[in-house]
């Protein structure tokens, strides 16, 4: 774990909020000159503390009409079974996240599709055909009062 001073933390906070702010404006907000600010940002990138930048898209406008969290249980807990499941799931574009979790199920997936019909298809074609899948529990998202990672 890396310890950062106040200014660098401030830089990260600003960039998380607006990743495309100009360097001059960022410098202004954190109280540094443009060059000093840029050096810090580049250093943060070099240290991989800033892993990258991405545009936040409006899913609704783009036709993502169905988001679901899916808990998946495996019938086999061997390494091979996990690797097989993970690589199958990772290839599916509908699966935006795949977390290996503690509890009665092994995996929690976030699946985004255009609509429930498409989800059903994913459910059948992808989950239904994956080896070792023992149980599937779908939780459709009705709303997200908070989503800082969006």
């Amino acid at each position: 774990m890396i310890e950062l001073d106040k200014i660098s933390k401030r830089i990260l906070r600003e960039l998380e909020l607006n990743g495309r702010i100009s360097n001059a404006e960022l410098a202004n907000r954190v109280g540094l000159s443009a060059s000093a600010c840029l050096r810090r940002v580049q250093e943060l990138e070099r240290l991989n503390i800033i892993k990258g930048y991405k545009a936040v898209l409006n899913q609704t406008e783009l036709g993502i009409g169905c988001i679901a969290y899916v808990a998946v249980g495996l019938s086999s807990h061997t390494k091979d079974a996990q690797v097989a499941f993970e690589s199958a799931i990772t290839l599916s574009p509908e699966v935006k996240e795949c977390h290996n979790i503690t509890g009665p199920y092994e995996y929690l997936l976030r699946v985004e599709t255009t609509d429930l019909i498409a989800y059903k298809k994913f459910h059948t074609d992808v989950l239904g055909t994956s080896a070792h899948v023992a149980s599937i529990t779908t939780h459709v998202v009705m709303g997200s009062p908070k989503d800082d990672r969006a």
Copy 2:
């Protein structure tokens, strides 16, 4: 829902991958001149299809050592109970996501803390003191083979 042509979709894909790519480079990748490309990007922003840009930070390096998905059940399903719970939870910085889901529980939270100790504290101080909370089921994330929203 808005229909986009191939080029605009390509632009979105590139910007999602690298939100800080220069306009010239982006134009090059999508096969447009810089000015035409910029106009499209600005239009996408104006239409709120691109909601913004953000830096992707390395949580591990910054001391996020414990990530958990927490299923929360409420004892009351009135609108008031939901609003109260949501506003309490929204204020907690540890809660990065709060989804209202179908199924036996009402909410699925993503909670990020420095370590398990801090999670325990969140569990007790925040969830434990929220009105209407009937059940809490914690799933600690052991790993994320895929996390496109990170």
